[in-house]
Symmetry: C2
Subunit: 252 residues, 2 copies
């Protein structure tokens, strides 16, 4: 089980977003099969792999991505501590995506069959998975809008604001400052831009006084203008909970 620090990130998220009590959280954590330390740039789930496991990311960053035959890559979503990994894939016959760590990471693994059993037997848990999947999809949809209909400047701003909001949910963002341990190439693959252009866009955001970047650390300097530029709705991410779906059926 986690050593406290990592666990709390997940617990914080579960309580905040999914309306789970401490007891529930403990129950979920107890399900984990094993906890793994993973090196940077390591593939956790391979594209087209069958029977994939399901993970919770306890520490570090990862990316869910798709690789085209010719080498082009699209990052679907970054995963930050507390996030679920492979939620979408584990019901499909094959994972249609790869999951790769970006930094050193720690994950806990939930074998596929165990998850399936649990969903079948515990409605409250199934509901939670359903909610998490919906939430994840909302993020992916936002990325789709971002890439499809926003300029490079707008979409970069939007992604950074989204990351800040998500990191905030697990206590990894303070005063508009947060770590983004990701290369500009990664950002480009997430934003549908070239590495070079990501660099120029970041420079532009800096020049306009909207944010500062030191190393891999980002600081939001002018949130209002940044949000306006990105058309980022204030408080959009999960601050409203899932409602009370699981309330009645709560078996354990």
């Amino acid at each position: 089980m986690g050593d406290g620090l990592e666990e709390s990130a997940l617990a914080r998220k579960l309580r905040h977003s999914l309306d789970f009590s401490d007891e529930d959280v403990a129950g979920i954590i107890a399900l984990e099969e094993q906890e793994l330390a993973v090196a940077p740039r390591t593939e956790i789930v391979a594209q087209d792999s069958g029977d994939p496991s399901y993970f919770v990311l306890l520490r570090g960053w990862a990316a869910c991505s798709k690789l085209l035959p010719d080498g082009r890559r699209q990052i679907i979503n970054f995963a930050v501590p507390g996030d679920f990994l492979g939620l979408r894939g584990f019901l499909l016959p094959k994972a249609d995506h790869a999951i790769v760590t970006i930094t050193e990471a720690k994950v806990s693994q939930f074998p596929r069959q165990r998850m399936l059993d649990l969903i079948r037997d515990n409605p409250r848990f199934g509901a939670a998975v359903l909610w998490a999947l919906s939430f994840e999809q909302a993020i992916v949809v936002e990325h789709l809008v971002n890439i499809g209909r926003r300029s490079a400047l707008e979409r970069t701003a939007h992604l950074l604001l989204e990351l800040e909001a998500r990191l905030g949910l697990v206590g990894l963002s303070h005063d508009g400052q947060f770590e983004v341990p990701v290369t500009q190439e990664d950002l480009g693959d997430a934003l549908g831009l070239s590495t070079v252009h990501v660099n120029r866009v970041l420079r532009q955001l800096r020049a306009q006084g909207l944010l500062a970047t030191r190393q891999r650390r980002v600081e939001i300097l002018d949130r209002d203008r940044l949000q306006e530029l990105a058309q980022f709705p204030a408080g959009s991410l999960g601050h409203a909970a899932a409602g009370r779906l699981g309330q009645k059926g709560g078996a354990r």
Copy 2:
């Protein structure tokens, strides 16, 4: 209940993709609250509406889209007969997207609370919803890759091949011919392209002998080259079933 023709499209899909028996299908159909005929270009679910219902599209086309404040629009996904509408939204506090009919359509409506009860009480049904959501997300992810990392020509080819495959699942595509009752503006909003460029791309696809378009009807002339252009994996969509998730718990 449906008049037979529409019902069969849904039933076909449920049996084909979700491994439901005729009996199951009948059970699901029986849940519907009411059946609605909807005019073209009518909003079924408004963006940011709370407490949205959940629908099955029996006839016609619809689009799930997001509108930006400045009027830009991104179509997340087209819905064809047999598709579920609003699956993602109904667990979230607010629908984060709009659903608009494209043609005249017929939908059956499942009120939100009824769905929630059902998921809680019937694990098999919950599993089916989970699977459907995963499947829907796989399509959205594919669109993300499409827009993020493929050229206009590639992504247009890809979308058409995807639509053909999906229409084939419900018997609406024969010999590579199928109706796409959608304007080029709609296509552009789905592909992240301008209307004008969609037109040019289609012309190019025609000029290369890959497909023909008459009115709103598309015919695939050279599937091999089209699939190669789009990097579209043959038989990728749902021809493999969801597995046997629901088998054991099957309460009714």
